[in-house]
Structures are given as C-alpha cells and as structure tokens.
C-alpha cells in the first residue's frame, strides 16, 4: 500500500500548475464561481476547451489511439486535483465524457474519423437524448421511434431533460427500432444532427432560475443510416457502457474539498447572531468537519477505483456508489453553504449569466448571490444519471446479491 509521488509525478504536477497559472484567466474563474450549476455556459466552457485542445489535454482520458494521453491514474488524479484547486471550468462532459468514449469503443472507423476530431476541437457540441416524458428511471421503456426508410431513419417522439440542447449541433439518442417482448431488445443508438426542420427545442427553466435543460421534439426528423452506432438493438448495451463510463473513474472529491475549504474561509467574514463570526460557531464547525471527513473518504474511494482500473480490474457497479456518495455530499455542502449566508442566502436572481456586466448587484458578495441558485440547481444531482433509488437498486442486486 503506498501513495507516493514519483519524480515524474512531481514534474507533471509542476507542469499542470504552470499551465494553469498561464492560461486560466480571471474571467474564466469568475465564470465558474458565478454559475449555479455544474455546466458552465458555452462562452466560458468553449474558451477553456480551446485552451485545453491547444495544450493537447482535452481528451486525455480517451484511448491513446484516439487522442488520449495514456496517463497513469496518479497523473489523472493530479490533473483533476490541480484543476479543482484552481477552480478551472469543466469542459463539456457530454461530448468528452459520454459520446467520445462510446465512439472510441463502438463507432465505425468512418464515425471515429468524422466525429472524434470535431469533439476534440470543440467544433461539435453534443446533447444526450435519453429520458422521455414517460421514461425516467425506467429508461428501457422509452418509445421514441425510428423507422429505417431508404437509408434514413425517420424519428418521431420527444426527449426531455436534455442538458444544453439549445447549444448543441448534434444529439445522440436512444430510440426504439422494434417493439419486442423484452423492452431492452429493440433499442438502437443513433447520432442525429440538430439543425433540421423536424427538430424543435423547448426550454425548461429550473426552480433555480437556470435554463440548462430542455424538451426536444422530433417530428419526422431524419438521420442517415451511417449515423447508427452499433447494430439495431444494440443500443441498451451501449447505453450501459456509457453510464458506467460516466460514473467510473470519477474525480469528484477534489472539487468537493475545495468547495468545503472555501466555505470555511467564507465563515471568517460572516457575522453570527452574537456578534462573533460564524467560524467560531461550534455547530457550524462540527457540521463542516463532518462534511470534510466524508469528502476525504470519497477521495480515497475514487483513488481506490482508479488504482483498480490501472491494475486491470474494471470498476463495475461500485461506480454507482461514488455517484451516490458524491451527490448526497454535494447537496449537504450546498445546504450548509446556503444556510451560512443567512438572510443573504435568500436572494435568487433569474438573470444569467451572473458574471455579465449588466447582472444584478450581489447582496453580501458574489458567493452569497449564487448560493441559493446553486442549492436549488443541485437538487438534481440525486436524480440525474440514475436517481439515488436506482443506484441503490443496482448496488443491492449486483454487489450485495439481493
């Protein structure tokens, strides 16, 4: 058992630090700090994307032959940790973390040659078409149809909760190509261009005031046969690969720890009812310390998974655990943060982005202004990507054998 940094690791850390010092501008950092959700707006996200692309790091987690870096888990961890400490934006996770790895694994050489470079360059921005109005946790019951006519799939139905579909030029969809007894069997994975007459995007505003998610309507929309990933009926297998990839090898904890530390610093300047400051409040300090311990444990849970992957032991359903722990923890941090700000934590501006010049003036500082929106936005984390209840079903069945 060891946790040692090699000379090469330390050199790499220096490289990452000096890169961040050079390239991560105040504008980008402010963009992250003043965005309630985890997805930054494209003006911030794409600018950072370009910088990472020029550096050659944008797709570092992909297989080497498709533009990955082949880093050790320790290097990946160092990068994520330094990015977290510096408060760097997270580049579009749907493009880089979801569809990219799917195409590396299941795409045809033509699909790989066409799409992967455009994901890396940021030319394409992807949305994920999974949930439907009647298919949430029971994803396999989805009903959006795709009928193959003359080398084209004709799509009818709708997808919902599609993050940033208003910015996307491509969407990957799980569609039903066959109504079969086993509902998982007739599902197919298609890539669909957004810029066409048969597709309409309708915004859904969250209770936090954010426009992140949408409903996307498909009315005889089309995509060519060559945009099918895998075979007809293989969609469920690909969907499961994507979800495990989404949850596997995560590095949630470093950002969580940075967030907890910032909460501690903020408490130094917030008055308590008795005239002292909140950093002297015993109850606050103990709540904060408990959150920190949970985050420190999560960091090692993630490192254990990384080490397993590096030793050729696939992560599997344990990744449901990190998602479960992380999402609960992040909500508890957001709750404590919002409560810390007292009355100032009740402001809820609907203007976006909050870092714009004409955004409303913050009462009690920028962090107070964004804290309630962040708390409300964060309620989604135990619902998206498989709700807590679904994750627990997965762990109960596949790990505990119940």
């Amino acid at each position: 058992m060891d946790m040692n940094y090699s000379e090469a690791d330390l050199a790499f850390r220096e490289e990452v630090r000096s890169f961040l010092k050079d390239k991560l501008t105040d504008r980008l950092k402010t963009g992250v700090e003043r965005t309630p959700g985890v997805f930054v707006e494209p003006d911030i996200g794409l600018e950072w994307h370009q910088i990472l692309h020029e550096q050659g790091w944008i797709s570092h987690r992909w297989p080497v032959e498709f533009g990955g870096k082949g880093w050790t888990p320790m290097q990946t961890y160092i990068l994520e940790k330094e990015f977290a400490i510096a408060n760097a934006p997270r580049p579009a996770p749907i493009s880089l973390g979801l569809i990219g790895p799917v195409l590396c694994r299941y795409g045809t050489p033509e699909q790989q040659a066409k799409f992967l470079p455009r994901i890396r360059s940021g030319e394409d921005f992807w949305a994920q078409g999974y949930s439907e109005p009647s298919s949430g946790s029971d994803l396999a019951s989805l009903s959006m149809s795709a009928e193959l006519i003359d080398g084209k799939y004709i799509l009818n139905g709708s997808k919902i909760w599609t993050t940033h579909a208003q910015h996307a030029n491509w969407i990957f969809c799980l569609v039903r190509t066959q109504v079969s007894e086993k509902k998982q069997a007739g599902i197919t994975f298609l890539l669909v261009p957004m810029d066409q007459a048969g597709i309409e995007v309708t915004p859904i505003v969250s209770m936090s005031g954010d426009h992140e998610v949408n409903q996307v309507f498909f009315d005889n929309a089309q995509t060519r046969l060559e945009n099918r990933v895998g075979e007809e009926g293989q969609g469920w297998e690909i969907a499961k690969f994507l979800l495990q990839n989404e949850r596997g090898g995560s590095c949630f904890a470093p950002r969580m720890l940075v967030s907890i530390d910032s909460l501690e610093k903020a408490a130094n300047n917030i008055a308590n009812s008795d005239g002292s400051t909140m950093n002297n409040d015993g109850d606050f300090k103990r709540r904060l310390a408990k959150l920190k311990l949970r985050a420190l444990a999560l960091e090692f849970t993630e490192l254990r998974i990384q080490a397993d992957i590096a030793n050729g032991r696939p992560a599997g359903p344990i990744t449901s655990l990190t998602k479960l722990v992380y999402s609960n923890l992040s909500q508890d941090v957001q709750t404590l943060r919002n409560e810390l700000y007292g009355y100032d934590g009740l402001q809820l501006p609907y203007d976006r982005p909050l870092y714009a010049d004409d955004a409303p003036q913050a009462v009690g500082g920028a962090a107070a202004q964004v804290s309630l929106a962040s708390f409300l936005n964060g309620r989604a984390s135990t619902i998206y990507g498989g709700s807590n209840e679904v994750q627990k079903n997965i762990i109960a069945k596949r790990i505990l054998g119940l």
Binding site: N4, R286, A289, R294, T301
Partner: protein
C-alpha cells in the same frame, strides 16, 4: 499509487483469520464465563504467531511491524469478532514500552508470559488524557515514588500482571509500570460490554521504585494513543464488514410473506446505505494509514477525525444489522450483537465520536 496488501500483510491476515474463525458464540460464552473471562492459552498462541512481536522494534526483540501491518491484524480480528484483547493488552502496552525502550519488561510481554494493561481513565476527567487525580509524590527513599489515586476502565485489568498507570507529579506527566500485586493496590473487577473484565484500580500510598517511571513524554503518549486509535478504527472496519456480511446472508435466508425479506426494497436500500458507509470507512482507514506525518500533533488530530468518522459508520451499521435481524437480532445468540458490543468499546476508547471530532476541528 497502490492499495493492495503486501504478501507479508496477506500472510498476517490469513494467520489471524485461522486463529480466530473457530470461536463461535457458544465457544465465546464458555471462555467469557471463566475466572478471567479469557483463555490465556490463546494468548500464548497469539504470541507464538508473532502477533505481539510485530508491535515492538527489531532491536527490542520485536518484528518492527508498520502501522499498516498492525492495522491488517486489527481488521482481521474484527472481521471474526475475536475476543482476544490484542489491541488493548497487546499492541497498546507493548507500543508504549517500546517507545520508552523498557526492554526488561518488553521481553515477557512479547513472548506472552506476562500481560499488561493501561490505567489511564479517571473518575472525573471524562476523555481527558492528562492525569489529574492520580498523583505521584516523592517516596521515603530518594529512589522511590508514591502513587495515590483511582483509575477506571482499565481494560483487561483482570488479566494484567503489570499496570501502566498515568499520573501527575506536580503537573508533570508520567507513566508508571507497576506490578498488579503492588502493596496498597486494590482492584474492583467489572464486566464490559464485550464480556471482558475491566478493573477499577485504587492506589493508596503505593510506593514503587523511581525506575518504574517510563521514559516517555505526554506528547509521545498521545502519539501512541493516536496509533491505537488507528487500530481501533481498523478493528471497527473488520467488525462492520462482518456485520454487513452476516446481515446480507440473513435477509437472503429469512422468509416472510412467502419470500426472502432481502427481496424487499426498503431492506435492500437500507443495506446499501450500510455498504456505502463501509466502503467510505475503508477509504478513510487507507487514507489515515497513508497520511504523511508532517507534525505529530496534526497527524494525531487527523487520526482522531478518522476514528470519529469510522466510529459513526460502525455504530450505524451495527444498529441496522440488529434491526434487519428482527427479534433474533436482540438475542445474545447471534454474532452481530457481540460485534455491536465490541464496537461500543472501540468507538469510545480514547474519546467518543463527538470528542474525537472536537480534536479534529483543530486541523480541519
């Protein structure tokens, strides 16, 4: 980065596993009902297996084991709910004497012929480690010291040949290693939650050689306490794994309403919560074992934070294990109750979760 056990650690783990697996609830009850609530033949065997020698340095006749090695043993003992007081009467006193380089007594502890117990807790000090009520004063001769005061919660006190008594000499900390049959020493035995026999120790004008005082500072003592807290955490992790395993097996077998109760979603989700705690506890233990020791004070505070976290998790799992066993869970016949009762001791040894958390606040 690597979280696998070394070959030697795996060997120690399987040694402990073999040594402890055959003591079922009935065997345990039998041993607990003997005079000292323990079978000292087991202690000799434990010594022969090298499980005591590993705690002391090599130049002291020990094996010079690392904290990771010792943690492997503690976890192994926990995972079979062992009744052997390796932690409180083996690792803890041997570590203290090793730190003080008290070789004349160490030999007999390492070979298992003698057993020592630490007398640190006082009636009016709750979890404070600094002795206030046990006082050391100059004896009649220049070479003697007189001890007066009372200690409680002397774990394994009934077994002990030696007592390591913490005392204050005009505000100066000291640990005095004295025979348990010293003059003026009275003991009252009482049963702890794991069935072991602790003692209340009263010292009344007990005069001992000045050389009984160990060469150890309060800071060094606290470091050994912190190391012991790591081992408490490891044993609690082992016990929690046992509790979860037994409970998962039980809900698979137990049928009600014509189906196994493990098919009910409320029970499945409750056990997933336990599993989630367990994995987080394991991560916390690994983190602690790999923590760099920049300063001893910071390291100790981090250890106590970890113990607080692991103690909360272990108690959570224990209570749920009892719940999911239904009425069987509250009987003295199933292992889980005994595991829960051992966790209660470990989680409160050297401070409970709340007290340990307060210590952690200094570095959090």
């Amino acid at each position: 980065m690597n979280f696998d056990l070394s070959e030697t650690q795996k060997l120690f783990h399987s040694t402990v596993e073999r040594f402890t697996r055959d003591v079922d609830v009935a065997a345990r009850e039998k041993i607990r009902s003997t005079e000292h609530a323990y079978d000292t033949n087991r202690w000799s065997e434990l010594a022969e297996l090298g499980l005591l020698a590993i705690v002391a340095n090599e130049d002291q006749g020990g094996l010079g084991g690392s904290l990771i090695d010792m943690s492997t043993i503690a976890e192994g003992l926990g995972s079979n709910n062992a009744l052997d007081p390796w932690l409180e009467n083996g690792a803890l006193p041997i570590r203290l004497l090793s730190k003080a380089n008290k070789t004349d007594i160490l030999d007999s502890l390492i070979d298992g012929t003698k057993i020592a117990a630490l007398a640190f807790a006082e009636p009016n000090s709750r979890y404070n480690l600094f002795p206030n009520e046990m006082l050391a004063t100059a004896g009649h001769g220049a070479e003697t010291v007189v001890l007066n005061g009372e200690k409680r919660f002397v774990m394994g006190g009934a077994l002990a040949d030696y007592l390591l008594v913490t005392a204050s000499d005009n505000g100066v900390f000291g640990i005095y290693c004295i025979p348990s049959d010293s003059q003026g020493l009275e003991t009252h035995r009482y049963q702890l939650s794991d069935g072991s026999l602790a003692t209340v120790v009263s010292l009344n004008q007990t005069e001992v050689p000045a050389s009984s005082k160990l060469a150890i500072t309060f800071e060094q003592f606290k470091e050994v306490v912190a190391e012991t807290c790591v081992l408490c955490s490891a044993e609690m992790l082992g016990l929690s794994q046992l509790l979860l395993n037994d409970t998962v097996s039980y809900v698979k077998e137990r049928e009600q309403f014509g189906v196994s109760i493990g098919s009910f979603q409320s029970i499945q989700h409750g056990l997933v919560d336990c599993f989630s705690e367990l994995e987080q506890m394991r991560s916390m233990l690994y983190r602690t074992l790999l923590l760099e020791k920049d300063t001893t004070a910071d390291w100790s505070a981090n250890v106590l934070g970890a113990k607080s976290f692991i103690a909360d998790g272990a108690n959570f799992i224990a209570r749920n294990a009892v719940q999911y066993h239904g009425a069987m869970g509250i009987t003295d016949e199933v292992t889980i109750g005994h595991a829960m009762k051992r966790i209660l001791i470990l989680s409160r040894m050297f401070g409970d979760a709340q007290d340990n958390l307060n210590n952690y606040l200094e570095v959090a």
